[in-house]
Subunit: 718 residues, 2 copies
C-alpha cells in the first residue's frame, strides 16, 4: 500500500515540481498597480524572475511593466504557476479558470478561508474540491507565497528575497518567513526554495517534504509547523526522506500555553504534544526547540559531513573555554573521545611540556597557528575521533585568519566534521566568513558549537537506522476481535471491560485462563476446568471500581465458587440496584508477586491516530508520570525502545535482585496491541492494566499476561 | 558569629576597595620594554590609567615613559597597587618588599605556583603567609591581572580594555576574560571591574562578591568559576549580597567529563556537582549553563526593573513568533498572564476585529507603531501583568525605529520590565541600539528574550526571600552524642551501626524504644520494658548486611527473646567466625506499613562540607536516583523544600489514598540531622535508612522514626 501510494504521488509531484518553484511563466491574478496593494507587491517582487510574468485583471492592458489579460483563459501560451490575490469570494472562480486553462500550480495568497469562520471554511472546501477535480497543486490559501532562488522566483508579497542556498524552508507562519529572510540575508544564510504553507488546504508539509527529498538543489529541509495535517502520512514519508535528507522541525505550540496560543492563531485542532513528540521521533525528524537551534542545526547539516562515531575531541588554546565545551559535550548525546596512545604521544612530541595531551587537548595560550593546527591534524587522524570542536581565545600570537584557513584545510583533508568557537568580537568577522564558506559553523559560545555537532550526530544515527516496518501476525483472528467489539452495540455505554479479554486473546496477547459465567453452575464448571483456587470478578458496565464494592474475590477454592458467585452479584446489586450485571469472570489465579505490573494503553490522537502508552503500574504512571508513547502500529525496535524509555526500566531488567522479566514477550504484546488498535479505528481508548511482566519460564507460562482491560468503542466506526 | 565576621571583613575590605580598582598610584614590578614581554604589555595597557604609574626593576631609570625604581621601597610616596611580573622564585621577595613598603594591594601575574607541582605549591604557601603577615590584599598568582573602568585601570596583559559599564566580572580563566572583552566591545557590553582570579591563593570569589556588593558602580556580579574555595563562606556571603545585588555564575565542570577536564586544568580539587548545585541554589546565585545565558542574564539584570509577578504578556504583530514566545514562557518558570476584563475590552476597542485580545496579544500584521504601542500600553497597565515580551516581524507598515523608541517610552512609563524580539537583519541594528541604551534586551529568537525575563523573575524571588538562619535546638545533648561517636575509637573499623542509634536520640531524632543487650538476660529485661513482640538484630561492625545472614528477627515474643539472642549470635559466628559480635539490639516492633520509608543521608564535600541527601526508600533512591541535596545546617524552609523537591513527593502528601505523613516531624528530623553533622566534622558519612515517615497521630507516636543507622567517623577529628 505504502510503496504504491508513494510511487503514485511521486510521479505526480515529479511532473509539476519544477512548475511550482522553477516555472517558465507566472501569472499574477488580481495584479494591480495600486500603491500598497498585495498585487503590486507580488508583481514588483517578480522583477528578478528568470522566466515570463503576466498580469491577470479584467479591463487592463498592462500592469506595471507586464502585459495584462482579462482571465487566465485569455493568456496566450501555457502558464505554469498562477498566484492568486483576488478577494476571497472570487478565488474559487479563478481556480476553476486555472483548471480549465490547464495551469498545474496555483498559489492562493488571499486570506478569508478556513481561518475565518464557517463561511470561510465552506470556501476552503470548494477550493479543495476544485484542486482535486483539475489535479491542481494548490498552495495556501492565506499565505505569503512561494520563492525559489533556483529560478529567481519571488512570488510572494514579503519585503525580502532569499539568498541562494541549499536549505529548503516551509513555514506555517508567513510573518516568521519575513523575519527569517531579513535576518538570513544579514547572516549570509541561503535557501533553495521557501514556501508559506498558509492553511494547507491541499499541499501540506508532507507534500513539500517529499518534493524536496527529490530535489538535487536541496540538502536540508526546514519546517516551522503549528500542526501536522496527517500524522501517519507524515511519519511514513519522513521515514523514507530522512535516510538521505535531514528534516529539522520547530513544532510550535509544544507547551500547553503555546498549544492554546497556536490553536487560537491558526484555528487548527492541535493534537497532543505526546503524539507530536513520539511521531516526530518515529519519523526521524530532528526537533529544534527554538529559532536559534533551528538554524544552527540547518547550518551544520548543510555544510558538514556526518560523523562516524559520537566520540568528539576538543582542541583549544584556552583551558576555561575548553572545559565549557567539555561540559556541553557532557550535556549532549555526544561523548568525549579517548585518544589513542599513538595520538597522545604524537601530541606530546609536538606540544610543550605543560600542554594537555588528553581530551580536551590544550595547546596552551602561547600556541601559534602552526602548533594549533598540528594538534588538530593529529587529533583528527585518530580513528576513535568522530568530530572535533575547535575552541580558541584571542592571544597576541594566534592569528585568527590563519587559524580559520588552517581549520578549513584540515577539515577537508580528514573529511570529518569540525565546528568552531573562535571567541571574540570584530576580529572574528573575517575568519568566521572563511569558516562559513567551507561549511564550518563558528559560535562565540562553545556550547552552541557542540550543540550543532550533536544535531549532526543525531542525524547520522537517523540516516543509518535500519527501519523495519511493523510486523504482521499470522495468528491474529480479526473476525473474532470484531465480534467482541460489536458487543458494545448491545450496551448503553460504549465501554467494555474485563469480559472483553477475548479481544486480546484474538490478537495473541496472553490472558489468564477462564471466562465469564452467567450462573453459579457455569462458574463452577469454569473453575473445574481451571483447577485450583480462582479469581472471581463481577462483570458490570456500570461498576468501574469493582474492588471498592467488594466485587473481586481472589483465591476462591472450588467448593466456594457457587456461593461466591451469588455473593458478588448481591454486593453489586446492593451497591447499585439498577446496575446491569452481566455475570462473573472466573479466572485462573495468577501470582502477581512474581512479576512487575505494567500498563499498556492507547488513546487516539486527531493527527497521528492510535498512540500507544507504556509505563509501570501503580505509582509509576499515576504519581511519577513515568510514561512513553509511540504512534501505532510499532516496529519491533520501536516496541523494544518503549520498554527502555521509562525511568523505571531498570526494574524490568532485574534491578534490586529480582529476576529480569521476559522482555521479548512484553515487547511482542506491545507490537500486537499496536496492530489491534491500528486495525480497529473503532477503538477510541484502551487500557491493559495491569499487564503483568514475568520472568521467562521453562514451564510454558506466558512472559506477559494481561490481567484486566477497559476500552471505549465507537460503534459507528465498526 | 556570622554578623560579626562580616562586619570585620567589611571594614577591612572597605579600606582597600578603592586601592585595588581605583588606586592613585600603580607600580609594575618587573617592568621592561622588551618587545613581547608581559611586563611591557602591562605598562602599555596602563597608558589610559587616571592615576600615576611607576616601574620597578633594578638598574633602570625609565621604562617606556615611566620612572623606574630599583625596588618598591625606593618608590617615593605611597603605592596603592603593585602588579608583579617577576620570575616565580622572586615573587615572595617582592611581596615582602610590598609589605614593608606598606603597599596594601598586590596582583601577582606570574605563573608557576599551585598549578605547577609541589615546588610551586610551596611557593604559593609562602605568598599566603606573607599576605597574612602584612595584611596584603593579594590577587593571583597565575592571573591575567585586574581592570576597572572606574579609574581607567588596565593592570593586565590582555589585548583589550573593557568598555565602561556596571557589571563586575571575575573569572577563574584568563583566556575567557580576553575572549569576553573582545566580544563585549563589539556588543557594546560594559564592565565596572574585571578580575582574573588566577590560583585564588588569598583573594577568592567570596572576597570579590563581598567587595562588589558594596560598590555603588556595580549592579550585577558575574563569576566564571571552576571551583569554590570555601563553600560555606560563599553561601553565607552570597545570601546577604544577593538581597541587593544579583550574582550570576557559570560553574564550569558541571558534567563528569567537564569536571575531569577542569581538575586537570586548574589542579583544584573538584567538589561534587550535587554540592555545587545545592550550594549555589542555597546561596541565591543564578546559575548560567553556558556563555550565552551568562551575558543574557547579566544584560537583563543590569538594565531592567524586577517584575512584581511571574505572569507575563506577549504582545506581537506576528502569530507564529508569538506562539514561539508563548512556548518559551511555558518552558520557563514564568506563566502567561490572564488579562483582566478591562484590559481585554480596551484592547478590543483599540484593535481590529480579527486581532487577538487574549494573551498572546496579536495586533495583526498590518499594525503600525501607534497601534502596536497602544496595545503595549494597555497590556502593561494591567495590574496582573508583571512583564511584557514584545515580538515583532518586519512588515511594510511597521517602522522598527519608531517601535523601539515607543517601547522604551512605554517601559519607562510603567516601570515594568520589557524584553524584545524585533526579528530581522540589518534593519534591527539601529532600533536594537535604542533598546539597549534603555536597558531593554533584544534578540532575534523570542525564546532568548523570554529566558532573560525568566532570569529576572528568578532573581526577584531571590531578592525577596526571607532567609531565616538554621534553628538551634535547646534539647540537643552534644556531650552524649560525642560519647557515642567516641565508641569508634574502640573499633578496628571506623564504622558505627544500629548500636549507635542513641546518637540520633541525643539530637532529638526519634528512634524506636530499646537498646543493645550483651547477654540473653539483658535482652529479656529490655523486652520486658518494651512489652509486646520485639525486633532483634545482631550488632557487629563486621557484618554489614545483617538480614542476608539471618541476623534480624522481627516480631519475637517475650518468651523467645533469650533463645533468639543465642540464635542470632550463633548465626553471626557461623557466617563469619572472626566477626566481633557486640551484642543484640532489642527494639520495639514498628509497623512500617503505616508509613513511607525515606532515606536521610550525609556525605562531606571538600568545598561545601556536610551535604544532606533526602529521598524515598527502596527503588526511589536506588533505581530512580530520585534525590535532593542541601548543604547543612539547613533552615526550616530549606528542610521543607527538600521534602517537596523529590519526584516522589506526592507520596508524602498522601497520593493514592494514603494518609499524608507528618511533614513537620519529618522536616524537623532533617533540620536536626543537619545540626548534628555540622556540629561534628568527625562524621564523614551517615545514612538513616529507613527513616520512617508516618501520618500524624494523636496517641503520641513520633511522626518520623529512624529505624536503622550507619555512619563513618574520623576518630582524629573528634
Amino acid at each position: 500500500m505504502q510503496a504504491d501510494t508513494n510511487a503514485d504521488t511521486g510521479a505526480e509531484a515529479d511532473a509539476d515540481a519544477d512548475g511550482l518553484f522553477v516555472p517558465e511563466r507566472v501569472a499574477v491574478v488580481g495584479a494591480t498597480d495600486r500603491e500598497g496593494s498585495v498585487g503590486r507587491a507580488i508583481l514588483t517582487n517578480l522583477a528578478e524572475f528568470d522566466g515570463d510574468v503576466v498580469a491577470v485583471n479584467p479591463g487592463r492592458e498592462r500592469v506595471l511593466d507586464y502585459p495584462c489579460y482579462d482571465g487566465l483563459g485569455d493568456v496566450p501560451g501555457p502558464v505554469d504557476l498562477a498566484v492568486v490575490v483576488v478577494p476571497p469570494s472570487a478565488v474559487a472562480d479563478v481556480v476553476r479558470d486555472a483548471g480549465e486553462a490547464g495551469v498545474p500550480n496555483v498559489v492562493v495568497v488571499t486570506a478569508g478561508f478556513g481561518e475565518a469562520g464557517s463561511e470561510g471554511a465552506n470556501r476552503e472546501r470548494d477550493l479543495v474540491a476544485l484542486a482535486e477535480e483539475y489535479d491542481i497543486t494548490l498552495v495556501g490559501p492565506n499565505c505569503l507565497g512561494v520563492m525559489s532562488t533556483r529560478s529567481g522566483l519571488n512570488a510572494s508579497f514579503g519585503p525580502q528575497m532569499a539568498l541562494p542556498g541549499s536549505v529548503a524552508f516551509m513555514s506555517q507562519s508567513g510573518a516568521f518567513i519575513t523575519a527569517v529572510l531579513d535576518w538570513a540575508r544579514d547572516q549570509g544564510f541561503g535557501f533553495s526554495d521557501v514556501v508559506s504553507l498558509g492553511n494547507k488546504a491541499v499541499e501540506d508539509e508532507t507534500d513539500f517534504m517529499r518534493r524536496w527529498a527529490r530535489s538535487e538543489e536541496t540538502n536540508v529541509v526546514l519546517a516551522y509547523l503549528e500542526s501536522i495535517v496527517d500524522g501517519r502520512a507524515f511519519i511514513d514519508t519522513a521515514r523514507e526522506v530522512t535516510t538521505d535528507t535531514p528534516v529539522v522541525a520547530v513544532k510550535s505550540g509544544r507547551t500547553s500555553a503555546g498549544a492554546q496560543a497556536a490553536s487560537s492563531h491558526t484555528g487548527a485542532l492541535a493534537g497532543s504534544e505526546a503524539a507530536y513528540e513520539a511521531g516526530l521521533e518515529q519519523a526521524g525528524v530532528l526537533r529544534a526547540e527554538n529559532v536559534e537551534e533551528f538554524f544552527d542545526f540547518a547550518r551544520a547539516l548543510d555544510g558538514l559531513p556526518l560523523p562516524e562515531t559520537d566520540a568528539v575531541a576538543v582542541v583549544t588554546n584556552a583551558g576555561g573555554p575548553g572545559v565549557m565545551a567539555t561540559d556541553a559535550v557532557g550535556d549532549s548525546g555526544l561523548e568525549m573521545a579517548s585518544l589513542a596512545d599513538a595520538t597522545r604521544s604524537a601530541l606530546a612530541d609536538a606540544l610543550p611540556a605543560n600542554a594537555n595531551v588528553h581530551n580536551p587537548v590544550d595547546v596552551i595560550g602561547d600556541a601559534d597557528v602552526a602548533r594549533f593546527c598540528d594538534a588538530l591534524d593529529t587529533t583528527l587522524a585518530d580513528p576513535g575521533v568522530g568530530a572535533v570542536v575547535v575552541v580558541a581565545a584571542p592571544t597576541a600570537v594566534l592569528d585568527y585568519d590563519g587559524l580559520a584557513e588552517a581549520v578549513v584545510d584540515v577539515q577537508r583533508e580528514h573529511g570529518k566534521p569540525v565546528v568552531a568557537s573562535l571567541m571574540g568580537g570584530e576580529r572574528v568577522d573575517a575568519p568566521a566568513d572563511v569558516l562559513a564558506d567551507a561549511g564550518v559553523p563558528n559560535y562565540f559560545d562553545p556550547a552552541r558549537a557542540v550543540d550543532s555537532l550533536d544535531a549532526l550526530a543525531s542525524y547520522a544515527a537517523i540516516s543509518e537506522r535500519d527501519y523495519a516496518a511493523p510486523r504482521g501476525f499470522a495468528d491474529v483472528d480479526r473476525e473474532r476481535a470484531r465480534a467482541v467489539l460489536e458487543r458494545v452495540t448491545e450496551r448503553e455505554s460504549n465501554q467494555l471491560g474485563v469480559e472483553a479479554m477475548d479481544l486480546l486473546d484474538a490478537y495473541g496477547i496472553p490472558t489468564p485462563a477462564g471466562g465469564v459465567a452467567d450462573s453459579p453452575d457455569e462458574a463452577d464448571s469454569l473453575a473445574a476446568d481451571l483447577g485450583g483456587d480462582v479469581v472471581m470478578k463481577v462483570v458490570s458496565p456500570d461498576i468501574t471500581h469493582k474492588s471498592d464494592i467488594g466485587g473481586v474475590e481472589v483465591g476462591v477454592p472450588r467448593e466456594e465458587v457457587r456461593d461466591t458467585y451469588e455473593t458478588l452479584v448481591t454486593r453489586a446489586r446492593n451497591y447499585q440496584p439498577d446496575a446491569r450485571v452481566l455475570g462473573v469472570q472466573v479466572q485462573e489465579r495468577v501470582d502477581t508477586d512474581a512479576g512487575v505490573e505494567t500498563i499498556l494503553g492507547m488513546t487516539r490522537d486527531p493527527q497521528f491516530g492510535p498512540l500507544l502508552m507504556f509505563g509501570l503500574g501503580g505509582i509509576f504512571v499515576e504519581v511519577l508520570e513515568d510514561t512513553t508513547f509511540r504512534v501505532a502500529p510499532v516496529s519491533t525496535d520501536e516496541a523494544a525502545a518503549m520498554l527502555d524509555d521509562v525511568d523505571a526500566a531498570p526494574l524490568l531488567r532485574g534491578a534490586r535482585g529480582r529476576a529480569p522479566v521476559d522482555r521479548e514477550a512484553l515487547r511482542e504484546c506491545v507490537e500486537r496491541l499496536g496492530r489491534l488498535v491500528d486495525d480497529f479505528p473503532a477503538i477510541l481508548e484502551l487500557d491493559v492494566n495491569p499487564l503483568l511482566a514475568r520472568p521467562a519460564s521453562d514451564d510454558g507460562d506466558a512472559g506477559a499476561l494481561a490481567l484486566d482491560l477497559r476500552l471505549t468503542v465507537d460503534p459507528e466506526k465498526l
